[in-house]
């Protein structure tokens, strides 16, 4: 059981547990997203990502989730189930992000391609009101987990 984002290996995180954590709150979380015409993690961001690109992209996405999406998502009134699932996701994303070390000497074009994909996501996020954007991004964690599963060795 480990993630293999190209050269980046991450052990010690059970993807199934993250899926179960999100599944518990999926309906509640996604019901709060009123902007159904917009998708942040759209095809151009995640489709046909090469192994070499994947480490750069996942690191950028996870850091964004940790620093921008999750950081202000919870308030003290948040439902206990959401807090529990949130804690499982945030702390395991924290573990994964801390173990990702993309190589420095990769070809510039690879990291640049990953950066362009991430910027597509970030621009779409910034076009929304911050709270709506955080709600939508949190609701799209299942899309992110599905993409991450492609790089997971059971």
């Amino acid at each position: 059981q480990e993630f293999r984002f190209g050269p980046c290996r991450v052990q010690g995180v059970a993807l199934q547990e993250l899926r179960e954590a999100f599944w518990t709150v999926k309906d509640t979380v996604q019901a709060k997203d009123n902007i159904t015409s917009v998708r942040l993690l759209r095809k151009e961001v995640l489709q046909d990502v090469s192994d070499a690109e994947s480490c750069y992209l996942i690191r950028a996405l996870l850091k964004f989730y940790l620093n921008t999406v999750f950081k202000n998502y919870l308030d003290e009134a948040a439902d206990v189930r959401i807090r529990r699932s949130f804690s499982t996701l945030a702390n395991n994303f924290f573990v994964i992000a801390s173990k990702l070390q993309p190589s420095e000497d990769e070809m510039f074009s690879i990291s640049e391609s990953a950066r362009r994909r991430f910027l597509l996501f970030q621009r779409a996020f910034k076009q929304l009101d911050i709270q709506a954007a955080q709600t939508k991004a949190f609701g799209e964690v299942d899309i992110l987990l599905t993409w991450m599963e492609k790089f997971y060795e059971f």
């Binding site: 995180v13 059970a14 547990e17 999750f70 804690s87 702390n91 924290f94």
Partner: protein, 204 residues
């Protein structure tokens, strides 16, 4: 919020063995009264970025205590802060927080319990069910000089596993240890257990 008149629970500590984590504390005693306790936790992410956010424990909000199985709350290999408070009716104590954050990578891993049996000429092992986070590394060999040790990784739990078809008259030994993927650690090996197959060794 109730006025904090009850003494806060003291001596919080966590005992963790084979990825089962138990938080304990000294009970608050009020003669003739039942004290209830509330346990809450926060992972490293919450403590760094949203330290005001605490999460009620799955099984102990409330509990009559003074212990709480926090295994289901510890869902990442990061340090966790834990706190407990006592309540009696509307009276509420202050929170007591575990002095050092708990990380599941400190759990004590014990050699697993195994049952080695013969099913005819088949060497069979049955391992205790320690949960989905555990793999078993089984080493087995024929007891003879310069014996070659074979290794098999077993992920199935609590069901018999065939290791080897044995030769008549020979003795075979087995030892096993666990591996926990979530923390990347092994347990010590168990004691070796040997079994012997009846009958004469077949002429070559």
């Amino acid at each position: 919020d109730g006025v904090a008149v009850l003494p806060a629970p003291q001596n919080l500590s966590v005992q963790s063995t084979n990825m089962k984590h138990l938080l304990t504390w000294s009970p608050v005693i009020v003669p003739g009264e039942i004290i209830y306790y509330f346990v809450e936790y926060q992972g490293e992410y919450e403590s760094l970025y949203m330290s005001h956010i605490w999460i009620p424990s799955s099984w102990c909000s409330p509990t009559e205590g003074p212990a709480c199985d926090i295994t289901d709350d510890i869902t990442a290999t990061v340090p966790y802060n834990l706190r407990v408070r006592a309540t009696l009716g509307s009276q509420t104590s202050a929170w007591s927080t575990l002095q050092h954050p708990f990380n599941r990578n400190s759990t004590i891993l014990t050699p697993p319990v195994m049952e080695v049996t013969k099913d005819g000429f088949h060497l069979v092992i049955k391992l205790e069910d320690l949960g989905p986070q555990f793999e078993f590394l089984v080493a087995y060999w024929r007891r003879e000089p310069d014996a070659k040790e074979h290794v098999k990784v077993v992920r199935s739990r609590g069901i018999p596993v065939h290791l080897e078809t044995m030769e008549p008259g020979a003795a075979y030994c087995v030892k096993v240890r666990t591996f926990v993927k979530a923390i990347g650690r092994h347990s010590p090996f168990s004691q070796a257990e040997c079994v012997k197959v009846q009958g004469e060794a077949l002429p070559l």
